[in-house]
Symmetry: C2
Subunit: 414 residues, 2 copies
């Protein structure tokens, strides 16, 4: 067929190379988002029916009455000064030392904090020492910068771990109810990691989105707080770069997150943010400020924690009944996920995932949490998004998916 008047070339310039370096299961897993017939235990979404729509409507009204056109400006790159101060206040209260607004950068959710860290710190080939398995979103955020990864060894005893730290641009850890494993890292291990980071002279990125979701007892001090307690006076100049968000305690849709770090790092991240989106919305930041200052957030958290505890328990009870033949797990003391490890090497959760879709249930296969995509013996199961009844139905479907998967394997083997 003739090309008409040279109008349509065979191919325009290719997209950037990093876009073809991802894990194909990730794409597949993203694609099911919209299917209403599927019970999704896959996402990391809060319970939408608990979103405080009325409180946010009232906060929006108050925010515009209070700030007027200021809430509708580009605003400063670092964020609405009053909200920066409020976050500094909150962090100071829990960290045994003073942080000021100069230690806070407001971001479009904590996810943007990860993107900005990648931009500001990573040159191609740089080393990141990261908690393993690790948050898919962090791997995604840093892929355009093409780093290398080594595994964070919380025991601190692995060979070469300290040498790795000395070469690393930063360490990435989610000590509170990690995504995907739900693990709460002990205070002793946090302190030991802090010591090693200080010795190695590198940065430590502490990602703490799940802090509000303390289902069984307190999470204990953050690594930022552990360092703060050792240096209670003067300007903060420690190695911890701490990420927080309102997405889990209130709603994701305001897209309000923050980075807390020494002032020079905040200035560097602000430079990266300036060239990313000029500024986040001052309007949603002003709404967030109302929700924090009025005490609404603090009052709301116990409501969602109670609901999530019930849902976690429903998930674990159903799994004990339907999945314990093939999977084992620990009951997570907080967060949003149960991490189920296959008891037998014969289960590959990438392959199981296809059977799960046929049974109209979704989870997240473990391979997406591995920079190399090789971890295929576990799955992440969410308990926050759906009611106990829906979760229980999802687990029943998972049981059928495992049976279908094993039967098809046996059929192929026969």
């Amino acid at each position: 067929m003739a090309i008409s008047g040279g109008q349509k070339p065979a191919q325009r310039p290719a997209r950037a190379q990093w876009l073809d370096s991802g894990n194909s299961i990730t794409q597949q897993f993203m694609a099911i988002g919209g299917r209403a017939d599927i019970v999704s235990l896959a996402g990391g979404l809060p319970a939408a029916e608990l979103y405080p729509v009325e409180a946010i409507a009232r906060a929006s009204e108050r925010a515009l009455a209070r700030w007027g056109s200021v809430a509708l400006e580009y605003g400063s790159v670092e964020g609405l000064p009053a909200l920066r101060a409020a976050i500094a206040e909150r962090i100071s209260a829990s960290a045994g030392r003073r942080f000021g607004p100069e230690n806070v950068l407001l971001t479009t959710g904590a996810m943007q904090g990860l993107d900005l860290l990648g931009k500001a710190l990573i040159d191609p080939g740089d080393l990141i020492v990261n908690q393993f398995p690790t948050y898919l979103g962090a791997l995604d955020a840093w892929r355009p910068r093409q780093p290398r990864y080594e595994r964070l060894d919380w025991s601190g005893e692995g060979p070469g771990f300290e040498a790795g730290l000395r070469q690393a641009k930063f360490v990435y850890a989610v000590p509170n109810y990690s995504n995907p494993t739900g693990v709460l890292v002990s205070q002793a291990r946090r302190a030991a990691l802090l010591d090693k980071v200080l010795e190695a002279g590198t940065w430590l990125v502490e990602d703490d989105p799940y802090l509000p979701l303390q289902l069984d007892g307190a999470a204990g001090p953050s690594i930022l707080a552990l360092h703060g307690e050792r240096h209670p006076t003067g300007a903060y100049d420690g190695p911890v770069i701490y990420l927080g968000t309102l997405s889990k305690s209130l709603v994701p849709g305001l897209r309000v997150g923050w980075v807390v770090a020494e002032a020079g790092m905040i200035a560097t991240l602000a430079l990266a943010k300036q060239s990313t989106d000029i500024s986040s919305s001052m309007f949603t930041q002003a709404v967030a400020l109302e929700l924090i200052e009025s005490g609404f957030e603090a009052e709301h958290i116990p409501r969602i924690v109670a609901a999530y505890r019930e849902r976690r328990d429903a998930l674990c009870a159903a799994a004990a009944q339907h999945l314990s033949e093939w999977f084992s797990w620990e009951v997570p003391p907080g967060g949003m996920f149960v991490w189920m490890r296959a008891k037998s090497a014969e289960i590959d959760t990438n392959a199981l995932y296809a059977c799960a879709l046929e049974e109209k249930v979704a989870f997240v296969p473990s391979s997406v949490f591995d920079p190399d995509g090789r971890l295929t013996d576990a799955m992440r199961v969410n308990f926050t998004r759906s009611s106990p009844e829906v979760i229980t139905e999802g687990v029943r479907r998972l049981e059928r998916a495992v049976q279908r998967y094993l039967a098809s394997k046996a059929g192929r083997a026969a």
Copy 2:
């Protein structure tokens, strides 16, 4: 001095290399943002006193009543479906062909569109052919990806221009009231560029933030529309990647912008956005939808256009009185800026800038709009942010700044 307990290393790992590749005058120019004693003719900010605070308060109320928790979710990466459809509708109406929601990605302002284009298309060393002088924000957005630049030759007659196009990842152009020059590119030149882009088989990024600010007559069809008219049926598969925003017609603080392109490019940009901030705020998108659907935006634009026309005329009148000895300019038919070129090579606007700050007035020196930082004979002067009286006072201060600058040069020469 002894290092106490190995706690504070001399230096932690360095920031990414691109951060040290910028133009130092840019930093200096950013730094004055907050100084109340300075008349700033520097920024690209709308008139805050014209922000429709009341209309936005009402739209927020309606948006939450209409969408409830949907407006408070992460939402889909591509944006609120109803707003994608509304933008597709708007673009279709002006482009002589149909665009669908699949052709629209909503972004955190048009600036994020530039960031995502950089992520999605640029590998280090890739060539961009860009309008010269060009928008500082675009250069900033792409710096982390480290591209090379060649100048867009609107005459199309320069040697090697077509060869450059064939090697380029994309062309970047701001045909309507360009930042910084205010130039409105003729329809003939737009069509000629489109032909060459089609021939070369590259992408064409058409950045159109100033479209609503048509101060003298109509802007005429966009390049997207020129291409659309040639291919009125079928799915859009042209080379134009078009960027728009509500920041100039309504307010910047909602941070609502959009990219319109063929569906495959939108999917690629959405992949990049997923790993950047998961999604923009559904809440501010729902508010924007109310403001568009209710006809408020269309009704508001004539009010700001009238005010900006008066301010532009005030700036040009004051400049004719106080600056015409040293600078020449064309009255821009739209947008936010007057581009003033020095009549004599003895004026270097980087150096003039320091004198301007001493006289408590700011502009943007031309060097920041040059990827190589070498363009030092012009300045960008904004007329939208301040009242005619303040603008006139700013121009008087500029006159004194030029006198001070020339006197100090003469002093050094003597």
